[in-house]
């Protein structure tokens, strides 16, 4: 029997047991305590949100519930019955299904083969496949979950792959569905579709647990919400009785400064001019479809967008290392001089020589060599600089001197440059990268997801440094999927969707709603009416090609 959200919010002492009840769950990975003494109750037929920063322990907790990890301590009750979930098979039999953040699909199998994997009927495949085909048709009809059962996974879009994951869970007759960060890879429209599906499932009496770090999703769809912070459960409340501000404070443990102190920008001459960039990747997919923009000295251009809409390709291309096998066209000018797009002069080394610093989106596989010491990492990408050479050898003393100074300047802790990069926390790792790139005083800084997985203290520090760089007359290209970050740092905002720039806005004259529409691919022209009062002198329309400029009043 389904309870309504209002009932669940007040935790009524009714006879109906909870769908899920966790008591005192703890889990450590080596020296890291991922979950500490966690209690959680989820009412039947409700949508329960679990929110927290990256690394707060949300995914670990749900993986325990799904039998993927074994807890060190604690009890699990499903529908009031205590149950020992030793493996995923037990969880599946208890009616628990999970959609992981990184899908667990076999890429070269068909949808049907993926669906039956692990729950085949009998030793031969043919009857299982036939049965699954029937069930799938029915489920598709019931929940708007259409996918071609004979398509292989690698042919499907990300959104459709997620549907397959949900279908997998439903085919296993899951009553309790856990979704881990399901919207990270979706466009807002796809996310809305997903939420409709979830509402439909709830209406059928299913229980849904939604893990996310996005406050908006919690407010939009959940009935109740639990907040995790550093492995602990810090609150469980009814969504109707809380606010985004209150949740944000719970997440980070103190009041969050949503605004960054900064003075208005005083843009100078264009530093970077990008014209009609196209990039077709090795699979023949066009990832960039005619990108054009300028960044002037002393301003921050923020690029907003759902991840996977070409931002990564743009950063990599500007940074000098587009994906292997990609075909590129267009033009980039740096301080008025053309940059090579292909050939030997287009690599990252040359880009750095031309004054481009780059804090990459993924610091752990790109920005740092995790096994290298901090001082070795401080030279990374600049290791060929003349001041680091001494005859045939490298001048390691000179590098260490710089490393010590940079770590001091950026308050990197622990202050030991002989430690390997992996021995630093996420925030301090990011500080190492930011220090390395900022201390070279680049004319242009490319910075992707500057605060992903970074603790709040380091976030404020890094934001302050970016603004200082701008105030020193440098140009900054900021790419982030966090709209708040874009809004608070940028002097101008460009929104990317499907390899295009859908439009430009000024941060103080737009809303998240408007940006959300652009992120969903709704073009400027379609929403011309929504746009008013932007003074033309604030928009660099004359530098932009027609397709993005035509929305602006001329």
């Amino acid at each position: 029997m389904a309870m309504t959200a209002q009932d669940a919010g007040g935790r009524p002492e009714t006879a109906a047991p909870y769908a899920i009840e966790l008591k005192g769950i703890s889990k450590a990975f080596g020296p890291v305590q991922a979950n500490k003494d966690i209690d959680l109750r989820v009412a039947k037929g409700s949508i329960h949100g679990i929110i927290g920063e990256n690394g707060a322990g949300k995914s670990t907790l749900m993986s325990i519930l799904y039998g993927f990890y074994k807890p060190d301590r604690g009890r699990i009750l499903v529908n009031g019955e205590p149950i020992a979930i030793a493996d995923s098979q037990t969880a599946i039999r208890a009616g628990i299904g999970m959609v992981f953040q990184h899908f667990k699909l076999v890429q070269n199998f068909t949808v049907l083969e993926n669906i039956i994997l692990g729950v085949e009927d009998g030793r031969l495949l043919r009857p299982s496949l036939a049965k699954a085909r029937g069930v799938l048709k029915q489920l598709a009809h019931e929940y708007e979950l259409n996918v071609d059962p004979d398509e292989t996974i690698e042919e499907l879009s990300v959104g459709h792959q997620q549907r397959v994951e949900i279908l997998k869970a439903l085919y296993r007759q899951a009553d309790i569905l856990i979704l881990d960060e399901p919207t990270g890879v979706l466009t807002p429209a796809e996310a809305d579709h997903l939420f409709r599906i979830l509402e439909g499932l709830k209406a059928e009496g299913k229980t849904i647990i939604l893990i996310t770090h996005k406050l908006r999703e919690i407010m939009d769809i959940t009935d109740t919400v639990s907040v995790m912070r550093r492995g602990e459960m810090v609150a469980s409340v009814s969504t109707a009785e809380t606010s985004p501000e209150a949740l944000a404070e719970l997440m980070v443990g103190r009041k969050v400064l949503l605004n960054v102190d900064k003075t208005p920008a005083r843009p100078g001459a264009p530093v970077l001019e990008v014209r009609d960039l196209h990039l077709i990747d090795h699979e023949g997919v066009e990832r960039l479809r005619g990108i054009s923009f300028d960044i002037r000295a002393g301003e921050i251009l923020g690029i907003a967008g759902v991840s996977g809409n070409g931002q990564t390709q743009l950063l990599e291309l500007l940074g000098g290392y587009p994906e292997k096998g990609a075909r590129v066209s267009g033009a980039i000018r740096m301080n008025g001089e053309a940059l090579d797009l292909t050939g030997a002069g287009s690599d990252a080394r040359t880009r750095r020589r031309r004054g481009i610093g780059h804090v990459p989106e993924d610091r752990q596989t790109e920005g740092l060599i995790m096994d290298f010491t901090a001082w070795e990492n401080i030279a990374f990408g600049y290791h060929d600089k003349a001041e680091y050479q001494k005859g045939w050898l490298m001048d390691n003393d000179a590098i260490r001197r710089d490393a010590k100074k940079y770590m001091e300047d950026f308050d990197c802790r622990p202050r030991n440059c002989d430690l390997a990069a992996r021995d630093f926390s996420g925030g301090n790792q990011q500080k190492l990268v930011v220090a390395r790139e900022l201390e070279r005083n680049p004319d242009l800084l490319l910075i992707g997801q500057p605060t992903r997985g970074v603790d709040i203290g380091a976030i404020e520090f890094i934001h302050k440094r970016i603004i200082e760089l701008r105030d020193a007359g440098k140009a900054v290209l900021l790419v982030s999927v966090e709209l708040d970050e874009i809004l608070s740092l940028s002097d101008r905002i460009a929104v990317m969707f499907d390899g295009r720039i859908m439009g430009e806005r000024l941060p103080d004259q737009t809303t998240t709603g408007e940006l959300g529409l652009l992120m969903a691919g709704v073009t400027d022209t379609e929403h011309h009416a929504a746009e008013d009062g932007i003074p033309p002198e604030h928009r660099h329309v004359d530098d932009l090609p027609d397709e993005t400029a035509n929305g602006g009043p001329r």
């Binding site: 080596g30 020296p31 890291v32 940074g319 000098g320 290392y321 690599d347 990252a348 080394r349 040359t350 880009r351 750095r352 780059h358 990459p360 993924d362 596989t365 790109e366 920005g367 740092l368 060599i369 995790m370 096994d371 290298f372 070795e376 030279a379 990374f380 990408g381 290791h383 060929d384 050479q389 045939w392 050898l393 490298m394 390691n396 390997a420 021995d423």
Partner: protein
């Protein structure tokens, strides 16, 4: 956070692995009805008990230093070069071609010329697998295995059809000119008035091998190229981000690796047999894998491990001579060392990590 201290990782784990490998080897000796203690004594006496024994031990050590360094350099770029055997074979061909075609009046001239030939041929044999890996993504392990067999066939062909002197039935080249014979260590020792290692094959190449250890250490940890090799080995996306070309580094690392393997020929072909024979390498290329694993891909570790295997090799020969234990025992020991230090590494490491973690927790509490 590190799970255990660095010294435990670098010294304790390989040491325990080695002890395990040796313990099982002892069991094997027991199983074939011999006494491990007596076998060990025979080996120590034969390999280390006299300057004669040392002369052979160091000769084998020289071979293994080169092939071990070859594997180690490639490994730093995360390339598993199993092709040392073939590259060393080709190195031998390079030596033979240089010494048989260019008249060189003195070994001081012949040595650098032969070294260039050896390194060039070894490097060339590594070049194709390297290029295929870098450009086409062909798995270097498989291609280098294939190239070992191709090298054997090629060498066989060249020896039988081209280099074999008229009238000879042996698949071997003619003797090298006497002027190119390398000084043996016993000659060098005699020159400074010490009688050492008479009638042993160890020669000046041993000193070159030690020099090679030093140079490889400098290369890997003190040069820009070494920095780039290590960076690529740890993260290819990272290398690209830093402007390091993976194609360039893969090719260069494999050229150095192949060159080092090829240089082994200076020792066995030029220094010892003084002509090119069919099976000159005798598996030293494969022993290089064990040596590099055992030595943790560090030149100093490689030196120590090569010494160990030099001892095993010479000691194994002595065993075959004086007992009924065949010399294949060392192949078994070699297999066990590779197994325990390379593949079963975690079997030793995981309990150790747990132990250190528990220790730390207790100290913290």
């Amino acid at each position: 956070m590190d799970k255990m201290p660095k010294w435990a990782d670098v010294i304790l784990t390989p040491l325990i692995s080695l002890v395990l490998a040796m313990a099982i080897s002892a069991l094997v000796i027991l199983a074939i009805g011999e006494s491990p203690a007596a076998a060990l004594k025979t080996m120590v006496d034969g390999a280390l008990g006299s300057s004669y024994g040392w002369g052979f031990t160091l000769y084998y050590t020289t071979n293994f230093i080169f092939t071990g360094l070859a594997v180690a350099v490639a490994y730093h770029a995360r390339l598993f070069n199993i092709g040392g055997e073939g590259q060393a074979m080709m190195g031998g061909l390079g030596v033979a071609l240089v010494l048989l075609s260019v008249p060189l009046p003195h070994w001081l001239l012949a040595l650098p010329a032969a070294m260039i030939g050896a390194a060039l041929f070894g490097a060339a044999w590594a070049l194709i697998p390297a290029w295929l890996q870098a450009k086409r993504g062909s798995h270097i392990v498989i291609t280098t295995i294939m190239f070992n067999f191709i090298a054997a066939a090629l060498l066989n062909y060249v020896l039988v059809n081209i280099l074999r002197p008229v009238g000879s039935m042996d698949p071997a080249s003619a003797r090298f000119p006497e002027s190119t014979y390398l000084p043996a260590l016993t000659d060098i020792a005699a020159a400074i008035g010490i009688q050492w290692g008479k009638n042993t094959p160890v020669n000046i190449t041993f000193l070159i091998a030690i020099l090679a250890c030093l140079l490889v250490w400098l290369l890997i940890w003190r040069t820009r190229l070494g920095y780039e090799i290590r960076a690529l080995g740890r993260s290819e996306p990272g290398a690209l981000y830093a402007g390091i070309s993976p194609v360039r580094i893969i090719v260069i690392a494999m050229l150095i690796s192949g060159g080092l393997a090829g240089l082994m020929a200076i020792n066995n072909v030029m220094g010892e047999s003084e002509r090119l024979v069919l099976n000159a390498v005798e598996g030293a290329g494969f022993i290089g894998i064990a040596v590099a694993l055992m030595g943790r891909n560090h030149p100093f570790g490689v030196f120590l491990a090569a010494l160990l295997f030099g001892f095993l090799y010479q000691g194994g020969g002595e065993l075959a001579l004086w007992t009924s234990i065949p010399r294949e025992l060392i192949v078994v020991i070699q297999a066990l060392v590779i197994l325990f230090t390379g593949a079963l590494d975690n079997m030793v490491r995981m309990p150790l990590e747990r132990m250190f973690l528990a220790l730390r927790k207790r100290r913290a509490a």
